[in-house]
């Protein structure tokens, strides 16, 4: 077998009193070998990030601390190493890359200076030698024009480029272990695919051991050699990627894998002949650039055409900045548009004023992405749901009674009514948001990334709820998502957006079988773990 780089023995991390459980993780054993990618997978709150941080001694102390076990790196127990010893190991022996590539770089320093800093701390190289090293590093992570990038500031780089720069920084001292904490979660799928490929390539080249923290089974399938599954602080299953993904033993792992939406051909449905309920005609929206000094103009929507038939679910798919959320908000008239028409059952609503809009609001309702930000923290659940009907003139008592009934419809207990949003989990809050939208009995439900902030098992439940409600209440739904798996699962037709335009629309089965536009093909190719599920489906 390959040689062991890091050995975690019976690691226990204590949480402060009053947390939901006494230990963040309990008795975790993990062995990381050279030349292997180990994926630590778990849902939010499973303690996976804390395991990663404990290795580098970066736990958010003093309340959270390692209370037991050992972490052996080159014969040294990292849990008992002093600050000076840890500093020597960080960066040189063990390096880390983070989820958010924007905040992990100092916005005031150039990329070149930040990369050089690592060499200044850990080596005695001269300035020109350091420069040469940095250029070499930037080349090794396939960043274009390294000489120019040296003088760039983080905000001048795209998210993928920043993540590449961070990887370059992490690899600069040829660490034996690289810890990657959800390094691709904030990136678009096509960029994610490139970054995963890069990590794999560099890791093979240098024989580095990689500990990869993620919540995404697709990513695991793409990159892992061995997999460890963490559930509420307990390591429930561990083994080779093939074994864990192909023949999961623990019921929890089985449930998690079953919850991942399959990238399989959706059933062919007959094309709907129902009348259009929403049509967007040549809609344009531009952000920024007003006032005496001008500024940069962003064309969020550049003449979008979109049609939603009664009773169907249309998926709006695209990467960040493609204008899909802007279109969703324009359709629900939460955002004024610059130009074009939005027809609701044939009537243009794009240029109505707020008083004319009032009766229209009832007919189009929106479900938002952020389950934490979309509910007023100071209102009780029953008041949140009843607010819409009350605004539209329903007597308060009846609106509240109906709100309580709606709770049942979205799968929440009636006792939830008198509680505040912060007492609920993300998935439950999203149910409350759906109930609020349904309270007005809308014809059209616009869902803006309703499941992207949720764990995969919760995601499946909320998707099932949306599909169920849509059929039961005969709603038409506009479903915005960046996740093709989710879109395939729930949508009748899919519209792919890029740079403020819809570039391809087709029934879901057709677009899966034969995507026409090159960009659509690239999107499908970049879905993490695409091959894995083809195999399991076959």
């Amino acid at each position: 077998m390959t040689d062991i780089v890091l050995e975690i023995e019976k690691l226990t991390i204590a949480l402060p009193a009053g947390a939901d459980r006494p230990n963040a993780v309990t008795d975790v054993d993990l062995v990381l070998r050279a030349g292997e990618v180990t994926c630590l997978i778990g849902e939010s709150g499973s303690g996976k990030s804390l395991v990663a941080r404990s290795i580098l001694g970066l736990l958010p102390g003093p309340h959270v601390r390692a209370s037991g076990g050992r972490i052996l790196f080159q014969g040294q127990d990292l849990l008992r190493a002093g600050p000076a010893e840890m500093r020597a190991i960080r960066g040189a022996g063990i390096a880390m890359i983070f989820q958010e590539p924007m905040t992990a770089l100092n916005p005031l320093h150039t990329i070149g200076r930040q990369l050089e800093e690592v060499f200044r701390i850990h080596t005695n190289l001269s300035r020109p030698a350091r420069r040469a090293k940095v250029v070499g590093l930037l080349e090794s992570v396939h960043l274009p024009e390294p000489a120019r990038l040296l003088r760039s500031y983080p905000h001048q780089l795209s998210g993928g480029q920043r993540q590449r720069a961070l990887i370059a920084m992490a690899l600069s001292c040829q660490p034996r272990l690289l810890i990657a904490d959800e390094p691709t979660t904030a990136l678009d799928v096509t960029t994610q695919a490139q970054i995963l490929h890069l990590i794999r390539e560099l890791q093979r080249e240098h024989g580095t051991s990689v500990l990869f923290i993620t919540h995404d089974f697709g990513v695991v399938a793409d990159i892992a050699d061995t997999v460890a599954v963490l559930r509420r602080g307990d390591l429930v299953e561990q083994g080779s990627a093939q074994a864990v993904l192909g023949r999961p033993k623990h019921p929890y792992t089985q449930a998690l894998i079953a919850a991942v939406p399959k990238l399989t051909p959706p059933p062919v449905r007959l094309p709907s002949k129902a009348p259009f309920v929403i049509q967007a005609r040549d809609v344009a929206k531009t952000y920024g650039a007003r006032g005496p000094f001008g500024g940069r103009v962003t064309k969020a929507l550049a003449g979008v055409e979109m049609e939603l038939r009664r009773g169907e679910t249309l998926g709006l798919v695209g990467e960040s900045g493609s204008g899909k959320s802007t279109l969703a908000r324009a359709v629900s008239r939460l955002l004024p548009v610059d130009d074009g028409e939005i027809l609701l059952s044939g009537r243009d609503i794009a240029h109505l004023n707020r008083w004319q809009l009032r009766p229209i609001r009832k007919r189009i309702q929106m479900v938002f992405q952020d389950p934490y930000g979309s509910l007023d923290p100071r209102q009780r659940v029953v008041d949140i749901i009843a607010e819409g009907p009350i605004i539209h003139g329903a007597p308060a008592e009846r609106a509240r009674a109906e709100a309580r009934e709606l709770l049942g419809l979205v799968g929440l207990d009636a006792s939830a009514a008198n509680r505040f949003p912060h007492e609920f989990s993300g998935g439950q809050r999203q149910r409350i948001g759906i109930a609020r939208a349904l309270a007005l009995r809308p014809e059209v439900l616009v869902a803006d990334e309703p499941v992207s902030a949720l764990d995969v098992s919760v995601q499946a439940q909320v998707l099932a709820l949306l599909a169920d409600i849509k059929t039961r209440l005969e709603l038409s739904m506009l479903f915005v998502t960046h996740d093709l798996r989710v879109a395939l699962r729930i949508c009748d037709r899919i519209a792919v957006m890029k740079q403020g335009q819809v570039i391809e629309v087709a029934p879901t089965a057709d677009i899966y079988a034969a995507p026409q536009h090159p960009y659509t093909k690239a999107l499908f190719a970049a879905v993490p773990g695409a091959n894995w599920q083809d195999r399991t489906a076959a």
Binding site: S332, L357, R361, G388, I391, R436
Partner: protein, 275 residues
């Protein structure tokens, strides 16, 4: 709110401040009982040092300093709280309008706010009282007029931050009018910050009031700490007690308010928690 109060109770300095404030409140309530009659009444020989019959001595006219301090507490509290409420009302309206409507409204209102901030508060207060004639009401107006910018800026910032949150957008999507969004959603969500900052403002208001009275711009018919110090300053070296006791009263009151206010701020303001 309840969680906030228990956090407040854990802060020992804040509890000390609250205890001092309670003593002040008791003084105000018990003043007519302990010192019946007019505090301007001549009670004994002038310039008596503290002794058994006059624990804080008498002033240049023979008035009881203890009675003066006790009755002055009421003036200070009334003006401090009144002016702060006025400042909060004014600041919330200006800041709220600016933060909610943004655009030109914001530019105009915030430049106005900054204009007020650039003028030294105390000098502006002197000017306003001098123009309006000295009285308790006019002092309250003057102090409120110089104190509102801090509140306006706070409320504007909170409104701008909250306005970007999805629950506000969701509410607009339900068809809610501006008034509903402002009063049902935005204001309740920045209430605790307003309370915290407002409590500190009371201390500042009391200081300004004392300063105004000291300069002879207070209400001449109402006993106040500034007035006593002003009357006693000529004999500061021969009769130290006249200036000292009202001075200590001001010091303790403002200190107590600041301690309690800081405690409130930490307890209610989520951004300062867990430091």
């Amino acid at each position: 709110m309840r969680a906030g109060l228990s956090r407040f109770a854990r802060n020992r300095l804040a509890l000390l401040g609250a205890a001092l404030l309670l003593c002040l409140l008791l003084t105000v309530i018990l003043a007519p009982v302990a010192f019946p009659g007019d505090p301007f009444r001549l009670a004994g020989r002038p310039l008596q040092p503290p002794d058994a019959s006059f624990p804080l001595g008498t002033d240049t006219l023979g008035r009881d300093v203890a009675a003066e301090v006790a009755y002055g507490a009421r003036t200070s509290l009334v003006i401090g709280i009144g002016a702060t409420l006025g400042a909060i009302l004014f600041g919330v309206v200006i800041g709220g309008l600016a933060g909610f409507y943004r655009g030109t409204v914001e530019v105009v209102l915030m430049r106005l706010t900054e204009f007020f901030q650039t003028i030294p508060a105390f000098i502006l207060a002197i000017l306003i009282v001098a123009i309006l004639s000295p009285s308790v009401t006019n002092e309250v107006i003057a102090i409120a007029l110089v104190s509102w910018p801090a509140i306006a800026r706070l409320v504007r910032g909170e409104f701008v931050a909250l306005g970007g949150r999805e629950f506000v957008l969701a509410c607009a999507g339900l068809g809610a009018g501006d008034a509903r969004i402002i009063f049902r959603h935005l204001l309740p969500n920045c209430l605790s910050q307003i309370i915290a900052v407002g409590s500190l403002l009371i201390g500042t208001s009391i200081l300004i009031e004392a300063g105004l009275s000291f300069l002879g711009l207070g209400d001449p018919n109402v006993m106040s700490w500034g007035l006593v110090i002003s009357a006693g300053r000529a004999v500061l070296r021969s009769a130290w007690w006249i200036c000292t006791f009202p001075g200590i009263a001001i010091l303790l009151t403002v200190l107590a308010i600041n301690l309690a206010g800081d405690g409130l701020n930490e307890a209610l303001n989520p951004r300062l928690r867990d430091r």
